[in-house]
């Protein structure tokens, strides 16, 4: 009773919800990122490459990431002599900021959300491009040719792949009839596949092509191999990150994997039913607890695909990547929109 | 190395004294270059050496490549035939600079002993080209006069000679006329001297005497004057 009334007072004040949401936001960004790095980058990649990965730090090397973070924090934060110091220092924060902005609109349960925007998916796709600014800042301010090539490559690539990403989402939006991410989840929970509503309508079933295009474009947005030209280590060292060390490199590193996790969340909201699982009532209050866990499980599945591709494929060349975007993915996604529209009107 | 070794050792069979294919190659070259060829040497069953005059150096390459089918450029380098004034730098006991002996006080004045196909001057260019279709090869040599260490470049014929000539230039101080970019290849730009010349001292050996051959260990199971070679024991 005392606890409940105390909670009421805390949540009625300004600081209560703010602190709660900040912790939730940090958890939503950092937990999947850490899990992805350990599970996939450290362990799965090692097993697929016939090695063991970290084994010493903690059980099965699970604390390796903590050790790595500690190492990076201790390292000297080096500025190149000719670097534009302010821009150079700010760039990693801009990149990381885009991940935090992205997670705002992701719903984790019927009432577990940060912001319930009516134009949620529109907002998400818009702020995902903020990281381009950060990368360009890093590339330009480093005063290094490798960095600049990497930054320019990243900008060209991210802008080229925004388009198929957006167009792939439009199919989902047509089917759901809304831009609100919460309503997209509910539309999948309550939807029907050509009149059969046994498992609702996870859009991966009816938007398979859209899901495929979204995954490819997402891989490119995340600059994961085979689309990792901006950081291509055998060509331009590590692209825009070449001159970074210590904590600023760590921020880029977290940003990369946090964004991977959040894009996986968006993919699971759009195509896999988000926090909802078939057979359960989406209005149940239990989903406020269960939802984040369901979401996490789906994120792990989607990121598995991302990292599977990453480990398997060689890297495209810059012009081949653009060809893939403009000559294959965009026409395909336009066809997908037309087909979805016709079917939507017909049924 | 027991005695059975000697029994089973197969002596190298005598190759034909006259190697017709290589003699024919020399004959064709002599016909095509006439005056350019100074001396030739054929080791039957092994190889051909042709020494040409400097004026015929590029012409030889042209003939070899376009008329004789030697399309594969193997290497190009130079030889310094002047014996080193520092001795062999081999074993400090007989090192000539450290312990000059009466018999060879100044090696520099000793007459040049040149190799196959002869030679009249201290520096000699040599290059090798192959014919990949018939698996023939020929070594070309060319004398360079001491007071004019220049030679025309082979790049127009064999572009692969570019780096080889740069290396020969920095190592021996030979200038290749017509070479587009005769900068140093391996050595730092401000390096002085020509390291591959025999009179360029190898500093590491100057500073620290080398233990040399006196340290050769005995083979296991071999007594002091066992079956070790007679010719080597004197050193």
């Amino acid at each position: 009773m005392i606890l409940a009334s105390w909670l009421d007072t805390v949540f009625d004040s300004f600081w209560g919800p703010t602190v709660f949401r900040s912790i939730g936001g940090l958890a939503a960004v950092l937990l999947p990122a850490g899990a992805i790095v350990y599970l996939y980058l450290f362990k799965m990649m090692s097993f697929m490459q016939s090695r063991l990965g970290p084994t010493e730090a903690g059980p099965y090397g699970s604390l390796q990431l903590v050790a790595e973070v500690g190492k990076w924090l201790q390292k000297e934060d080096i500025f190149p002599r000719k670097a534009d110091r302010i821009v150079f220092a700010a760039a990693p924060f801009v990149v990381l900021m885009s991940s935090f902005l992205l997670v705002l609109v992701v719903p984790f349960g019927p009432d577990a959300w940060f912001v319930n925007l009516d134009t949620g998916i529109y907002f998400a796709l818009a702020v995902s491009s903020v990281s381009v600014i950060g990368i360009l800042m890093a590339g330009w301010a480093s005063a290094s040719k490798y960095s600049m090539l990497g930054g320019l490559r990243a900008a060209a690539q991210l802008i080229a792949y925004e388009l198929p990403l957006v167009l792939a989402v439009i199919g989902v939006v047509i089917q759901a009839g809304t831009l609100n991410m919460q309503d997209i989840v509910l539309a999948q929970a309550e939807g029907e596949i050509f009149g059969w509503g046994g498992i609702g309508n996870p859009f991966i079933l009816t938007q398979l092509l859209g899901f495929f295009i979204f995954m490819v474009a997402m891989q490119a947005e995340l600059t994961q191999p085979p689309f990792d030209m901006p950081v291509a280590e055998s060509e331009i060292v590590t692209g825009y990150m070449t001159e970074y060390s210590g904590i600023r490199f760590l921020l880029f590193f977290i940003g990369e994997f946090a964004t991977a996790g959040i894009f996986a969340m968006i993919a699971s909201v759009l195509f896999l039913g988000g926090w909802w699982v078939p057979g359960l009532d989406p209005d149940s209050n239990w989903f406020n607890v269960l939802g984040p866990l369901v979401m996490f499980a789906k994120v792990i599945v989607v990121t598995f695909l991302i990292f599977w591709f990453r480990i398997t494929y060689p890297r495209f060349r810059e012009d081949q990547l653009q060809k893939l975007a403009w000559k294959i993915l965009i026409p395909l996604s336009l066809a997908n929109i037309v087909a979805t529209g016709i079917l939507k009107v017909a049924f | 190395m027991s005695d059975e070794t000697a029994v089973e050792e197969t002596p190298i069979e005598d190759v034909a004294e006259v190697d017709e294919a290589r003699e024919a190659l020399v004959a064709t070259m002599t016909e095509k270059l006439s005056d350019g060829i100074v001396e030739t040497f054929v080791k039957p069953g092994d190889d051909v050496w042709i020494r040409v005059s400097r004026d015929a150096w590029v012409e030889t390459a042209n003939v070899l490549k376009s008329e004789m089918g030697f399309g594969f450029f193997n290497f190009l380098s130079a030889i310094d035939w002047k014996p080193s004034p520092f001795g062999r730098d081999m074993d400090s006991q007989v090192d000539l600079a450290m312990n000059p002996t009466d018999e060879t006080t100044d090696v520099g004045d000793a007459p040049l002993e040149t190799g196959y196909a002869g030679g009249d001057t201290r520096f000699q260019l040599f290059a090798r080209v192959n014919d990949v279709t018939t698996a023939r090869a020929v070594t070309i040599k060319c004398d360079l006069p001491d007071d004019d260490l220049t030679a025309p470049t082979w790049i127009p014929v064999y572009p692969g000679a570019n780096w080889h000539e740069r290396e020969a230039a920095e190592m021996f101080g030979i200038e290749f006329t017509g070479h587009p970019n005769l900068r140093k290849l391996y050595l730092p730009g401000e390096f002085e001297g020509y390291p591959m010349r025999k009179d360029f001292a190898l500093l590491a050996r100057r500073i620290k005497p080398w233990p040399g051959i006196v340290d050769v260990e005995q083979m296991p199971g071999e007594d002091e004057d066992g079956d070790a070679s007679e010719e080597g024991s004197g050193a």
């Binding site: 055998s234 060509e235 060689p314 | 027991s2 070794t5 290849l185």
Partner: protein, 391 residues
């Protein structure tokens, strides 16, 4: 340059440019990009100064010498047996193969020949160092084009070969095992069967890597039609080994001009060529080289004759006066030693003809007009070892 190569090059550049240039009207200021000497892609300390227009290379100039150790000079002050210690370090991924041509040249001058058993073991080790070297090259090509996995598979399976080399020579990287007139030691017990098993692993690796890498569409897109070397240009630049066989030149020293002292003529194998001359064909021929290498080793292993492993040679080796050039087909291409002797303990002059030096000398010609990522594909497919360039 000859007129043919000019035309070929112009055609190549125009193809590249037409394919790539989005807007020819925009004149952009050039940029000079310095790749190396500590660049991740140059496996060693090769430095390439590339003048770029956008990402297209206008001119590329390799700079080397960061690892020049002066072996030709050092060899002049060492006895013949001591020289093998130096030349082991030329191509350090296939060290035993470096020793072979020098030892053969010395044997030729001394007019001795190793006993048959030594010749067989020498050929086996020569071929095993080729397998080990080329496997590394294939895995490394994966890294160059951005695939991280093949290199681990290559290192994993190369280990089986290196273990066998170590078992007989005692050294994984620098065996220093070849002697004038034979070999240092005989084979250890059980080695023949173990090596056959290791060659089985190598063949498995070839199948696996063919699926994983060569069949991959992205790998093909990155290597097909990139860095085409026409036959006559390659020959005039002195390219050898796989790099020239991938341009359609059917020439292999092992088959066409086998020096005395190796026994490749005793086994059944094939020289692979490819008509294209691009990066993909170079890597493809390289893969077949590994397969053939495993085949040669397996066949030789079952044919090794018994007998001594060392000919009768004096304890202190003096080589009679004379000149000899012996070239063998080494992992990276044709490697030869021109040895001039004056009847002394040490060679009078040793000219080392290393394969990578000539193979890389084509890069200024080849890199014109390609993109920055193609530099990496081309360098990876030429497959050089810096020690083999800088000597």
């Amino acid at each position: 340059m000859t007129s043919i190569s000019e035309t070929e090059q112009l055609r190549y550049i125009s193809q590249q440019a037409a394919d790539a240039r989005v807007n020819v009207e925009i004149e952009t200021e050039g940029m000079t990009l310095n790749l190396g000497p500590q660049h991740p892609a140059t496996h060693g300390t090769l430095r390439i100064i590339a003048k770029l227009d956008g990402e297209q290379v206008v001119a590329a100039e390799p700079v080397m010498g960061y690892m020049h150790r002066g072996y030709e000079k050092l060899a002049e002050v060492r006895t013949y047996p001591q020289v093998t210690t130096l030349i082991n370090r030329i191509d350090w991924t296939g060290s035993f193969a470096n020793e072979t041509p020098f030892i053969l040249a010395a044997e030729k001058l001394m007019e001795i020949e190793a006993p048959p058993r030594a010749q067989y073991i020498r050929t086996i080790l020569h071929e095993m160092s080729r397998v080990a070297n080329v496997m590394l090259g294939i895995g490394d090509m994966g890294v160059q084009v951005g695939a991280t996995t093949p290199v681990f598979y290559a290192f994993r399976d190369r280990e089986y070969v290196l273990n066998q080399i170590e078992a007989v020579t005692g050294g994984r990287f620098h065996p220093n095992f070849d002697r004038i007139g034979g070999l240092k030691d005989d084979l250890p017990a059980g080695w023949i069967q173990n090596t056959k098993n290791a060659m089985g692993k190598v063949e498995e690796f070839c199948d696996q890597i063919e699926d994983l890498m060569y069949g991959n569409e992205i790998f093909q897109a990155r290597t097909r039609g990139i860095g085409i070397i026409p036959k006559d240009v390659g020959l005039a630049y002195g390219l050898s080994g796989v790099n020239i066989r991938a341009s359609g030149v059917d020439w292999d020293v092992r088959r066409d001009a086998l020096p005395r002292g190796l026994v490749y003529d005793q086994v059944d194998w094939k020289v692979w060529t490819h008509p294209d001359g691009d990066c993909y064909s170079r890597m493809w021929v390289r893969l077949q080289e590994v397969r053939e290498g495993a085949k040669i080793v397996t066949q030789l292993l079952s044919q090794i004759p018994s007998g001594p492993i060392m000919a009768k040679v004096p304890r202190i080796i003096k080589v009679p006066a004379g000149e000899a050039f012996v070239e063998t087909e080494n992992p990276l291409g044709v490697m030869g030693y021109y040895v001039i002797s004056k009847g002394d303990l040490n060679p009078y002059r040793v000219k080392i003809r290393s394969a990578s030096f000539n193979n890389v000398s084509i890069t200024p010609w080849l890199l014109k007009g390609v993109f920055v990522p193609d530099i990496i594909s081309i360098l990876g497919s030429l497959y050089f070892i810096l020690g083999d360039i800088d000597r």
